[in-house]
């Protein structure tokens, strides 16, 4: 009987082996990309009037702009049917720019720590190929460019969206980089770009489809300009980047696992941060905040709903906590009602 067999097999496996296997399944993600299903959005679900580079809405995804249109970027529920996704990232052009200046560009990117990617063996004859797969939908059909960027080197590949407003799965394989370098540290190791538009500075050369040093003109040759009409929208989800030459099914992670991966880079908290004090005069007070998980680097602190940052100093920070000290008027108990910590790349 099947149940008996399962019982017999389990009884021959040491408990710690089972735990290790379970743990391994969680942490050894095949997907290099974090939050590829766009499920986590600690910064909020929509940001309007975006014209410059910043992290908005969904975690880990940086919207990189240089004077190419104005955008509303949102976490959206328009997803490919029957694929298991619940959220996508949507770009909505709200001010068009049909004639980009040479240096204008717009792309979506994620930056990955080099210490997580040493298994790619960059710079050796055994360098691993990488395959990117993702779902896209847009009314703006034509050629789009996807780029991988490492320290001073990049490779770009084009893909075509031919059906307007239809979810399409794209798969692109990049050869391994046998000549590059990748620092084994918490710094930038690899970036993936999804170009949405670019001026001639990035489009006037020949698309660089093999790894090579940076020549701006070869980055995004052929890329359509998604910013050329306020009618334009672009959705993307299910982004996976994995070692190898074929795209496997998207790796869905439990929400808590996905969130924890994001918390290494950004932590939003809307719980009051109090700084207790016994003071009756202007003696400084101190408060500490410990992060849910160690962050990538000592983070930047931004207070959102309080102006008390004006007389605050961040006197100590680490990957584990930050200590604030503050002077203020008598009787106040300083606090921040909503704040975040960022150690994004």
């Amino acid at each position: 009987m099947a149940i008996t067999r399962i019982g017999n097999i389990a009884s021959t496996i040491p408990d710690d082996s089972i735990q290790n296997a379970k743990f391994s399944n969680i942490v050894q993600s095949k997907n290099i990309i974090i939050n590829g299903d766009m499920n986590i959005a600690q910064r909020g679900t929509s940001t309007a009037s975006i014209t410059s580079s910043s992290y908005n809405t969904v975690d880990r995804w940086k919207n990189t702009f240089s004077s190419l249109g104005t955008w509303t970027i949102s976490q959206d529920t328009d997803v490919p049917t029957g694929q298991g996704f619940a959220k996508s990232l949507k770009y909505d052009c709200t001010t068009a720019d049909g004639s980009p200046s040479a240096g204008d560009f717009c792309n979506l990117r994620q930056i990955v720590e080099g210490q997580n990617l040493q298994y790619l063996k960059v710079g050796t004859s055994s360098a691993q190929s990488l395959t990117a797969s993702f779902w896209v939908k847009t009314n703006k059909t034509g050629t789009y460019i996807c780029t991988l960027n490492t320290s001073g080197r990049f490779i770009s590949k084009s893909y075509s969206i031919s059906s307007s407003n239809t979810w399409t799965k794209i798969s692109i394989t990049f050869p391994g980089d046998t000549s590059g370098t990748m620092a084994n540290s918490n710094a930038n190791g690899l970036e993936i770009f999804f170009w949405l538009g670019a001026g001639s500075t990035f489009t006037s050369g020949t698309l660089q489809t093999s790894w090579g040093s940076v020549t701006n003109a070869d980055y995004a040759v052929g890329q359509v300009n998604l910013a050329d009409s306020t009618d334009n929208n672009f959705w993307i989800t299910g982004i996976q980047l994995e070692a190898g030459t074929s795209a496997s099914d998207f790796e869905f992670l439990p929400y808590d696992v996905n969130l924890n991966r994001c918390l290494r880079y950004f932590y939003f908290d809307d719980c009051d941060l109090f700084m207790y004090t016994n003071r009756v005069s202007d003696t400084p007070r101190a408060g500490q905040k410990q992060f849910p998980i160690p962050m990538r680097a000592a983070p930047t602190f931004t207070s959102i709903s309080s102006t008390e940052i004006s007389n605050t100093a961040m006197t100590d920070s680490s990957r584990f906590m930050v200590t604030f000290r503050q002077s203020g008027s008598d009787g106040d108990v300083p606090r921040y009602n909503s704040y975040n910590f960022s150690s994004e790349l």
């Binding site: 680097a297 983070p299 930047t300 931004t302 100093a313 961040m314 006197t315 000290r325 994004e344």
Partner: protein, 57 residues
């Protein structure tokens, strides 16, 4: 986009930067070289005309 950067002192020690961005948000940036906001401040201050405000200890 950075608007202003000011050195913050506490008990006489330079402890962090206070950065004001063009969207009026304000952040405290640690003096850690692997923090990308710290790196951005160094790049910003290297541009002629951009000066870090130093109120002194």
């Amino acid at each position: 986009m950075i608007n202003t950067v000011e050195k913050i002192y506490f008990d006489g020690d330079f402890v962090c930067y206070k950065t004001t961005y063009q969207d009026s948000s304000v952040s405290l940036v640690p003096l850690k070289t692997d923090n990308t906001d710290y790196q951005a401040i160094q790049e910003w201050s290297a541009i002629e005309g951009n000066n870090i405000i130093d109120p002194g200890a």
